[in-house]
Assembly symmetry: C2
DNA sequence: AGCGATTAGATCGTGTGCGACTTAATTGGA
DNA sequence: TCCAATTAAGTCGCACACGATCTAATCGCT
């Protein structure tokens, strides 16, 4: 349809069109989701990354910072402040693991668990108000899962 | 394949699995691209958003801040500091439009234009080192273009 | 047992991002 | 003409996000 992979194939200082960049489509879609989620998450008092962190904890409670980072693809330098904010909101507790004092275990509080119900409604709400095509969304999601696997592999081999 | 749209279809406080979220796939892919581009862009002395801003300017020079924002999906509050940094690097000039003093016009300097050559090589370089499948990348890019159009529409109607 | 290497988080500095607000310039009616 | 409304950037505060670096704890090898 359009022409090239993540960028124009030209080797000379040629066109270099923004829409040819897969990375830009991803970048723009990320911002768009952020903007669409914001008003819905405001009602929960969460930011978008905080919401994703809570999703991980609702999946399985009592995780270490490293485990959360692995799941979300974030560094401890990003997660530590974020988790402290969730702690400040009274949604999680942060305690050193007595068996290994290097590790910090993150656990949901009752308040954190209670938020799961309202939180479950959010994606459906977004889907309803956005008028996105459900089938298309599922298809792109699965394609992106494959892309992410490839990108992760590329990261690994690159170091 | 997997089950639901941007989220699990369950209405009860059910599973809520991270991989079911399209928004998370997009979020993760964005970070992954950022990490892959970083070492390549370091050689140009640019960050990832700065690179995208330069791509827009290489497409067509002499744009207003608002035009750049429309193209990139960014607010002036994000662009102004970014553009000041590009100005500090000597890649662009920022001057008030004499015809309308509210407007600031962004123009490439010679140094900024000279960077286009090396910059064109970056995406191909990334593609080579990452080992991504070119056809798959093009397919996902086109699918995301459609998604972005839908997300943008959703944003518009939502206000 | 002892000590160098590794590991888990935390801290710091820089650079996005955005909403809310401000400032300055232009526009558009009465 | 004049002034209220609009518009374009910029400023500010907050929250990511990462690399580099630090600290404390644990591991592993002898």
């Amino acid at each position: 349809m359009t022409q090239a992979p993540d960028a124009p194939s030209s080797s000379a200082p040629g066109p270099l069109k923004l829409e040819d960049f897969l990375c830009f489509s991803v970048y723009a879609a990320g911002h768009a989701f952020n903007r669409l989620y914001r008003p819905l998450l405001d009602k929960l008092g969460l930011t978008y990354p905080q919401y994703l962190a809570m999703v991980v904890l609702w999946e399985a409670d009592d995780r270490t910072v490293g485990e959360l980072g692995g799941r979300l693809g974030l560094e401890s330098s990003t997660l530590t402040p974020l988790l402290k904010r969730l702690e400040g909101l009274g949604l999680v507790s942060r305690t050193r693991d007595p068996a290994d004092e290097r590790v910090v275990r993150i656990r949901l509080t009752d308040k954190g668990r209670a938020l799961k119900g309202p939180a479950c409604a959010v994606p459906a709400e977004l889907l309803a108000t956005s008028g996105l095509d459900v089938a298309a969304v599922a298809r792109i999601r699965d394609e992106l899962a494959g892309l992410n696997a490839a990108l992760t592999r590329a990261e690994q081999t690159g170091r």
